[in-house]
């Protein structure tokens, strides 16, 4: 066992951990921070993304001992008073369906917006390339991130002006040829 001290979502913890304990398991099983989820065994899906000293990392690919002395922020700690603007934008723009990828998507997006407060669609897609979503097809996730970006920049009314002011209307509707086959 190794003794670690970490701050997680603003609270300090001193704990004994096995060196092989992954940060995500420490957060979920020892601290009960189950907002951070595990979606794969290969470091690909990004569902487990948290911030370690302010940088987005895949918490399934960090040992808890490596976080000793560090500040960790999980999805449970991003909203100061109510929801974080990115959380709100995912809600408003329908940036989720089953929601499993969402904590990681939001943590990666916040990290991206810290570096680039006004990303284009392509820059959002590249910025969240480490996060996989099996439901949405990403369209509304990209809209949500750009919507949040505008909100966080304080650009007047909020939504970007390039026609993405609302969630996609057609994404979930069956395309005409599908209807024809039915």
């Amino acid at each position: 066992m190794t003794r670690i001290s970490v701050r997680v979502d603003g609270a300090s913890y001193d704990d004994d951990v096995e060196p092989r304990t992954l940060l995500v398991h420490y957060l979920r099983e020892q601290l009960g921070k189950v907002g951070t989820v595990v979606g794969c065994d290969t470091s690909n899906c990004g569902a487990c993304t948290v911030h370690l000293d302010g940088e987005a990392v895949k918490s399934c690919t960090v040992f808890a001992v490596q976080a000793d002395g560090a500040e960790v922020t999980t999805i449970e700690g991003v909203g100061q008073d109510g929801l974080h603007p990115v959380q709100k934008a995912f809600h408003e723009m329908h940036g989720l369906q089953c929601g499993y990828c969402t904590p990681g998507m939001i943590m990666a997006s916040i990290d991206l917006l810290g570096e680039n407060p006004d990303p284009s669609d392509d820059e959002v897609r590249e910025g969240i390339e480490g996060n996989l979503c099996r439901c949405t097809g990403y369209q509304n996730i990209v809209r949500a991130v750009r919507h949040a970006a505008a909100e966080m920049r304080g650009d007047g009314s909020g939504p970007p002006t390039d026609g993405h002011a609302a969630p996609a209307q057609v994404d979930t509707a069956a395309a005409p040829h599908v209807v024809g086959q039915a």
Partner: protein
Amino acid sequence: MIPAPFEYARPTTVDEALQAIAEGGEDVKVLAGGQSLIPVMRLRLAAPETVVDLGRVTELRGVREEDDAIVVGAMTTHSDVLADPLIAQYAPLVAEATATVADRQVRHRGTFGGALVHADPAGDLPAVALALDAEFVIAGPQGRRTVPAADFFVDYLTTAVEEGELLVEVRLPKLAGSWGMHYEKFNRVAQAWSIVAVAAAVRREDGHIAEARIGLTNMGPTPLRARAVEQALAGAEATQEAVAAAASHAAEGTDPSSDLNAQADYRQHLVTVLTRRAVSTAAGL
């Protein structure tokens, strides 16, 4: 899965790290950014007895200038590399290739040295280091030695770093004259490794290509220099036709594998196309 249990050492200097490695038993693994090591430990493809974490060895992190070279500490993360002004000025090829590595989360943890010592044939930095004639400073119980890139990459996942040793830093010579550089990577999905990629640095002089250095990613068990292309380009006119003619030699001497992404003959075709693109862009055509 959860990795098998191991002893954990967290040195703060290179000397302490070498000692921890020496005392760690039969199977010791050095932990840099963990972005390759932790996944293989999770799959239990590796189950070291001792893990020596370099995360607190601050002397290994950062980029500095030293006369005719810039020196990149082994523990400098991919994101540190991307933000570094010396890299941007003297080795933009490194930044360009690093930007294609994985995704932002992995780039926050993964390190320049880790990616080079890991020496995955599909890894993006080995071919760049080879094209730039980098030098590798390795520390061991007997002191330090410097190995040129041409001798560093020994075989599949194997480098000149021996058991008991550490990669300390990498020297990238400053290039004199007017060089253009480009990294052309071919992959198909987000955060994917290179199917094939080409690193090109080209020096132009009065409308001609005076000199070209070309590194190939994933065209054999180790990164390769495209020597036949380099020879064909030396003194060639800086035209699309001349570059295409030279690039048609890119598959000479390569030995790519066949896997789920591509067959060997497809890779040998791809490398000629990507070399043409990489050299054209680097030459400003």
